[in-house]
Amino acid sequence: MKPRVVIWGVGIDCPAGTGWEEVAASVATARRATGPVSNFDASRFPPNAAGEVKRNGEVERLSTSIDRKAVFLEEALRQLAQSSSALAAFPPEKRHFFVGMGLDYLDIAGVAKAGEYPPEGMIQFLHGSVNSAREMSQRYGILGDFSVNVTACVASTQALGLALRRLRQEGGAGSVVIAGGADSMVNPVHYIGFHKLGALSGRMEDPSRASRPFDVTRSGLVLGEGAALYALSRLDDAPEGAVLGELAGYASTMDAYMLTDPDPTGAQVARAALAAIEDAGLTPNAIDCVHLHGTSTPKNDPAEGAAMKLIFGERFSEIPVYSMKGQVGHTISACGAIELASILWSLANQAVPVTVNFEEADPAIPLRVVRGAPLPMRIDNILKLNAAFGGQNAALVVKRYGT
């Protein structure tokens, strides 16, 4: 019998809020959290929309010499450390740190100010994710195993999956894993990169409505940013009364299809989902709702629709689904971790949230996307899907604690 692994702490800093309570309130009310880019001058950029982290209602503006995702990661870690004294009960070498991180940040303004551009000189303006994550973990006394995943949009999902597997192993007892992710592509260089890919939403008449998962008028993604971290341990090691959910299943697959597009059949997404469901000791019939990747791009959303049919058969159009990206945008390497917060909200409130900006269904994707008001229902088991550019897929199953 596999040891049970539970989630009992959360630190989060994302467009929907800073801290669990603020994020939960945003999810409950389906508050739109994207808008015009504010942390740098994007006034001349062809698309101009992002989900940015705010402090007291204002977009967090930082010096261009600072890697935004490192700041968000530290905020999430600070929240986690402060919210529970239980972390201190674990010996430092039994505290592990697994995060998904995005591309290294290039301080283009710093390069410009330097005025000289020797190749070797560029490195000083590059902020390595692994260095900042390592330094942070050590400063907080997390001295056990360490891993940075850089598998793009499944990076933090894989970090959470690694946490599950590590804790199930012999040697997992008496350990805590801090797992999650951080990213910010909302900077000039990477924003332009995504624009050049043709991936960004063209719905600029209202940037707060530009990310439209599964909507028939969707036209692309809106970049988001932020971080989320969770404390996970075996059930026996979790603090009394603190459990938020049980992480019960994980699997990953690759499409082996195209670099630019997902496999439209959804076959490998479905295989990851079914493997995660099996890993959780369940069958597809036991899944109550699905939190999808739902990027609002023309190609991702139908591929997920196809996967849903393979996973659930005839039930695929009845099972309620949700994507958090309508609200906060696509937070790239952090998305699995940030979106886990909405899963925990679903479990706590026994409801499926509203997918923000889903207004008109696409007949080609006949999924039951919740709109208007959260859908109250009994929820014991949630399937989470994420997929990355290049065809990497990851799936988690999260159970209501006490199921």
């Binding site: 591309l103 390592r134 260089v189 332009i192 990169g193």
Partner: protein, 194 residues
């Protein structure tokens, strides 16, 4: 079995025989080419494929080898004087391909596409210990592909891949190591997986 390759700055990295479509080569950085060529050689020798899991470590981007260097050079002068002009100059310097070339999961994606690998996977960053952790946490008894790649500032590209299984890795001296994973593969190629 372990395969390790090092390609000097002027060396061509042969991958054409592995491509399902020649056009895919435009997405390849030198690291991606080295990783694909090396993984391809191992897969050909061992017959591994299909759902064989792949755990891969990439390394710090040394920007000389990526388009973003051109972006920075083209844009940086303008950025200091007139940031709003960055859009025009920066956009002009960036090809759509550069984002694929710098995305850290691109080498593994290309390996997956070209070698038809669909199994469990992860891409970790730099450290050998992180890469080993993923392999160790995989289900015992299954063969795994464990690999790493990097490019150096001068354009030298290196990659190594091993076919192993997690039971062989539990007492590895690389557990917890912060050394670049590509050094672990280099050592394995010399000494065997250990």
């Amino acid at each position: 079995m372990v395969v390790f390759n090092s390609y000097g700055p002027e060396m061509k990295i042969p991958v054409e025989h592995l491509l399902p479509d020649r056009k895919i080569v435009k997405y390849m950085s030198r690291e991606a080419r080295a990783a694909l060529a090396t993984a391809g050689a191992l897969v050909r020798e061992t017959g591994a494929g299909g759902r064989t899991p792949v755990y891969y470590s990439t390394d710090l981007a040394e920007f000389e080898n990526y388009q973003v260097m051109a972006t920075a050079r083209e844009s940086a002068g303008v950025y200091a004087e007139a940031p709003e002009e960055f859009v025009t100059r920066g956009l002009g310097a960036v090809t759509p391909l550069y984002q694929f070339r710098i995305l850290q999961n691109t080498p593994l994606s290309l390996i997956s596409i070209c070698l038809r690998l669909t199994g469990e996977h992860a891409v970790t960053y730099v450290q050998a210990g992180s890469l080993l952790l993923h392999a160790l946490c995989h289900q015992p008894g299954e063969p795994l592909l464990v690999g790493a790649g990097r490019t150096h500032l001068d354009g030298t590209a290196e990659a190594g891949f091993a076919l192993t299984e997690c039971g062989r890795l539990g007492s590895s001296r690389w557990l917890g190591s912060r050394e670049p994973a590509v050094e672990m593969l280099r050592a394995w190629a010399r000494e065997g997986v250990s």
